[in-house]
């Protein structure tokens, strides 16, 4: 006899003994006289959260005694206060130590739906459940034949109750659906390690009709399982031990409710309107508590500003009159011919000219937006990090314009290879601090900026330059940069009469220019999106900044967000390398990690050599000198064209984001291509005007 058979037999025996005291007729009468049931289906599915069914559970056959629960009514009220959507009451007495008395007490204590959980196989038990005020009953497919299942389901429905139908296999799910089940309990535990297995869930739930509510019914203990099931697609969860045995029952339920709400919020569509804090499993706020007050303030002020037409007006006016927006969308026919020659794709290629912005890159869009927020917050001091110096220059620029005190952190290696930008920042009145800790590159500059912020957060704003870091930075920086794609889309239509591009290419360091140019196209499936990371000497060389290719980045938390990260077996951040200081970063913005995970953006890389060749190609075919960062996107255009060709395109319209101009990179390029004599190169080194490509 299986455990289930034994439990059913016992439950039946107990029911028969109750029936000798209270007849079926009497129970029927009581059921019909009971106050109307709550429609539980309305409680078990919602757009903004994962409803939690919290269980009153004293023991189970698999785990033995769990909790005494002397006062089930009090426990149920704690669950309700914690945000439970329903209470499950085990009424089986032999192994689970429950009773109908528990059910009565709970029913009287709460205003949310109550589930009678028992081994129900007879009409009597259904009427009895209703008579005791249950809104939901449990039926276990494995314990019932098809006819009985159909019959009991119909009886419960006739009495106005909702039925949670417990299943364990695909066959049982099919039987449940055929019998008319509207709420199905799914058990997606991997029996080897008892963890929730998303693949198993998918396998089980794949063919379920949309109007069936899916309740994850087994193995839910804490936030981990709620998140796993929610990401797998469950509508609700049933939790027993994890809440019944907790020290603080209310808090335990509250944590589960919050975990579910987070997952729901992290999967918002349309893609372009996602507001964080999490993109799928990525993002969040992995920062010291000392920064939370400042991040909360920033989020609040930003939300207010977003809703304030005056803020938009000021921002857009400055974008036009100070930055010089809109930046043009330039067709590049001679470059397109090169691409055609190499790939066979008949492409029309358009360059989004962020290089023509004031200060020479897209960075000013975000620096300007955040600086206006600094004014709104009443702070007086701005700090920022910079890699290639473009963000530092943009920040120093807006701070000069708005009269804000400004300090820029820059890794010593970057400060050498971008010495001219150091001079520019100082010219603009900013203090530039060269960071000599760690690897002396961008990440180390960010560490120092974070330390400064933790110390001076009262009067200081950290003007983060990319779509990374803790919430709200990734969403906020994206919002300030998305004008790039919005303009490009409009210009393509208005200037060139083209409805939409077939492809958009951008380089990805932290990822702000890429998000900026892609956001307007995220929800348009006709547009193929391509992001190019810094390939350095190639993925096998160990000298690169590729986070997304197999065998490179891993999941981790870095500088405030969960994303992909280049790290050692110990979880220590790896050194990165790229000829381009602006892409030389160990992690990547969380939204990119998510767009990779859901397959919306194709990520690949361009090596130093490919980027430098593209740098020359674009310069010599179009008279436009891109930044070395942007040259990775130009190099990517060849790869994207090849990919489009492989996908069956013969003709294609492509947008390549030229995120910045290459003047700052002339020394590097001059040496790379041998355009300078040894004397000239040496002269540059001596004056310190330019650095070299520092490994």
């Amino acid at each position: 006899m299986s455990v289930l058979d034994e439990l059913v037999a016992g439950a039946l025996e107990d029911q028969q003994s109750r029936e000798r005291t209270v007849s079926l007729e009497a129970v029927k009468k009581a059921a019909l006289a009971a106050p109307a049931p709550i429609d539980a289906t309305r409680w078990l599915k919602r757009a903004d959260g994962i409803p939690v069914i919290a269980e009153i559970k004293r023991a189970s056959p698999s785990k033995g005694h769990l909790s005494d629960i002397p006062d089930p009514a009090a426990l149920a009220r704690e669950y309700e206060r914690g945000g439970a959507s329903a209470i499950s009451v085990l009424t089986e007495g032999r192994r689970f130590l429950g009773s109908l008395d528990d059910l009565d007490q709970v029913r009287a204590a709460v205003h949310i739906p109550v589930l009678r959980k028992d081994f129900i196989v007879t009409d009597y038990q259904i009427y009895e459940a209703r008579a005791h005020g249950a809104d939901l009953v449990l039926l276990i497919v494995a314990a019932l034949d098809d006819d009985t299942l159909r019959h009991l389901l119909a009886l419960a429905h006739d009495l106005g109750m909702t039925v949670l139908v417990e299943t364990h296999t695909r066959e049982e799910i099919a039987r449940a659906v055929a019998a008319g089940a509207k709420v199905i309990g799914i058990n997606a535990r991997n029996l080897k390690n008892l963890r929730v297995d998303v693949r198993k869930y998918d396998e089980l739930a794949a063919d379920l009709p949309d109007d069936v509510i899916r309740v994850a019914e087994s193995g839910v203990f804490g936030a981990v399982e709620v998140e796993d099931y929610a990401r797998a697609g469950a509508d609700a969860v049933l939790v027993g031990e994890g809440v019944a045995t907790a020290d603080d029952h209310e808090l335990a339920v509250e944590r589960l409710v919050k975990a579910g709400a987070r997952v729901k919020a992290s999967e918002t569509t349309p893609l372009s309107e996602h507001q964080g804090p999490c993109w799928g499993q990525f993002g969040g706020r992995y920062v010291p508590e000392a920064l939370i007050t400042a991040l909360d303030e920033l989020e609040r002020v930003y939300e207010e500003a977003k809703a304030d037409p005056e803020f938009h007006k000021e921002f857009m006016t400055l974008q036009q009159r100070y930055v010089g927006r809109p930046s043009p969308l330039t067709e590049a026919p001679r470059f397109a011919a090169l691409v055609r020659e190499k790939t066979g794709l008949d492409a029309r290629i358009f360059l989004k000219r962020e290089d023509l912005n004031h200060t020479g890159a897209h960075k000013i869009n975000n620096a300007l937006g955040q600086a206006l927020l600094v004014k709104r917050m009443g702070k007086t001091r701005v700090i920022a990090e910079t890699g290639a110096g473009q963000h530092g220059v943009a920040t120093a620029t807006v701070c000069a314009m708005l009269g804000l005190k400004c300090r820029i952190y820059m890794g010593q290696i970057d400060a050498r290879r971008q010495a001219l930008n150091v001079a520019r920042m100082r010219m603009l009145g900013a203090e530039v601090v060269e960071v000599t800790l760690g690897d002396k590159i961008l990440k180390d500059a960010i560490n120092e900026a974070l330390r400064d912020w933790v110390t001076n957060v009262k009067d200081t704003h950290y003007l983060l330059g990319t779509v990374a870091g803790p919430h709200p930075f990734p969403a906020m920086v994206r919002d300030f940069q998305k004008i790039i794609g919005e303009e490009a889309k409009e210009q393509l239509r208005d200037w060139y009469g083209i409805d939409h591009p077939d492809a958009v290419c951008a380089c990805v360091g932290g990822g702000s220019n890429a998000i900026g140019v892609m956001n307007a196209f995220l929800d348009d499936d006709r547009v193929n999106l391509y992001g190019y990371e810094a390939g350095g000497n190639g993925p096998e060389s160990g000298r690169h900044a590729i986070r997304f290719a197999p065998g490179t980045g891993q999941l981790g938390m870095f500088q405030g967000a969960k994303s992909y990260l280049l790290e050692t077996d110990e979880g220590q951040t790896l050194d990165t390398y790229s000829i381009s200081a602006g892409l030389d970063y160990a992690s990547v913005g969380p939204e990119h990690a998510w767009l990779k995970e859901i397959g919306r953006v194709n990520y690949s890389w361009a090596t130093d050599e490919e980027a430098m060749n593209a740098f020359r190609d674009l310069s010599q075919t179009e008279g436009i000198i891109p930044a070395i960062e942007s040259s990775h996107a130009v190099a990517g255009a060849y790869k994207a064209a090849a990919d489009l060709k492989a996908k069956g395109y013969d003709k294609a319209v492509m947008i390549v984001n030229i995120s910045g101009r290459g003047d700052k990179d002339m020394a590097t390029a001059g040496k790379w291509f041998g355009y300078l004599t040894d004397d000239q190169a040496a002269a540059l080194d001596v004056t310190g005007a330019h650095g070299n490509t520092v490994a």
Binding site: P288, E289, L437
Partner: protein
């Protein structure tokens, strides 16, 4: 992510209701009417073997609970002294898999072993795996400088299953609402940063930590310890008068560094300076009330 710890019947572990090791310590010290002395040292600094000697020395000279630091490449909450020590440890081959030896060393010496770690190291090691190994080594709790309760779902679950303390931080800037969130989710004690900023010694300690301790208790915390900036016996006594524990980091780490603050001092000399500094601070803590 495999849940390695299970009950004999193969089910995942339930909530452990074993008493909090740090709360037990506070209860005992309350009988002596004195605060706890909590000392910090990065594991593996200056090298793995010497760091075990150093941890033992600290316990033998009066530290009640040891915060064993896990060196990290990007320690954003740490000042120059601890950054330098962490870097030396990493260079000398520190590995997270061996930190449990340090936990055992502290436990065997009679101290309460805590680990302080940036979250990525624990996440990368595997949260459940870490909790299992830490519990098995006799560990008491984990201090998480860059993990706030809002992000700590996996750790809360693992620490509940393994009966480990969860020590989150609060700072003078924290709102009452944040203090309440931290206090509700904490187990063991709440770590109050004495001032805004990174770790490091300070000549003076302002009065703000006293207010912060009071506010944090009001927000529901049973025990509050104060760290960051405490480096002398006087400061320890002053802080110990109102806090449940006094946390000292940089001042102890400092004894094992040369005057350049970048290289490790001669081992014997360092350990004897560490012992002396520990004695001095322990004296301050014992005279706090």
């Amino acid at each position: 992510m495999t849940n390695t710890a299970t009950t004999p019947s193969g089910q995942p572990l339930g909530i452990s209701h074993k008493p909090s090791a740090t709360e037990t310590m506070f209860d005992k010290l309350a009988g002596e009417n004195r605060p706890a002395f909590i000392g910090y040292l990065p594991y593996g600094f200056p090298n793995p073997d010497t760091s075990l000697d150093a941890l033992r020395t600290m316990v033998e000279h009066g530290v009640d609970a040891v915060e064993i630091g896990l060196p990290y490449s990007d320690p954003v909450m740490d000042g120059p002294v601890i950054q330098a020590a962490s870097q030396i440890a990493l260079t000398n081959g520190e590995s997270i898999t061996n930190v449990f030896k340090a936990v055992e060393t502290v436990a065997n010496a009679g101290g309460v072993p805590l680990i302080m770690s940036y979250w990525n190291l624990i996440y990368h090691y595997g949260v459940e795996r870490f909790a299992t190994d830490f519990e098995n080594a006799g560990g008491a709790g984990l201090i998480t400088p860059d993990l706030i309760p809002d992000e700590a779902g996996e750790w809360i679950e693992a620490s509940d299953r393994h009966g480990l303390d969860r020590i989150f931080l609060v700072s003078p800037d924290s709102s009452d609402e944040r203090l309440a969130i931290v206090s509700r989710n904490a187990r063991g004690f709440v770590y109050a940063a004495s001032r805004m900023g990174v770790t490091g010694e300070r000549a003076t300690i302002s009065s703000s930590p006293e207010q912060l301790v009071e506010r944090t208790r009001k927000a529901g915390a049973k025990h509050v310890c104060v760290g960051i900036g405490v480096s002398t016996a006087d400061q320890a006594a002053k802080v110990g008068a109102y806090a449940d524990g006094v946390i000292v980091g940089s001042a102890l780490v400092h004894t094992l560094l040369n005057d350049d603050n970048k290289t490790a001092r001669d081992t014997a000399e360092g350990l004897s300076l560490l012992a002396a500094k520990t004695d001095e601070l322990a004296e301050g803590v014992r005279n706090a009330r």
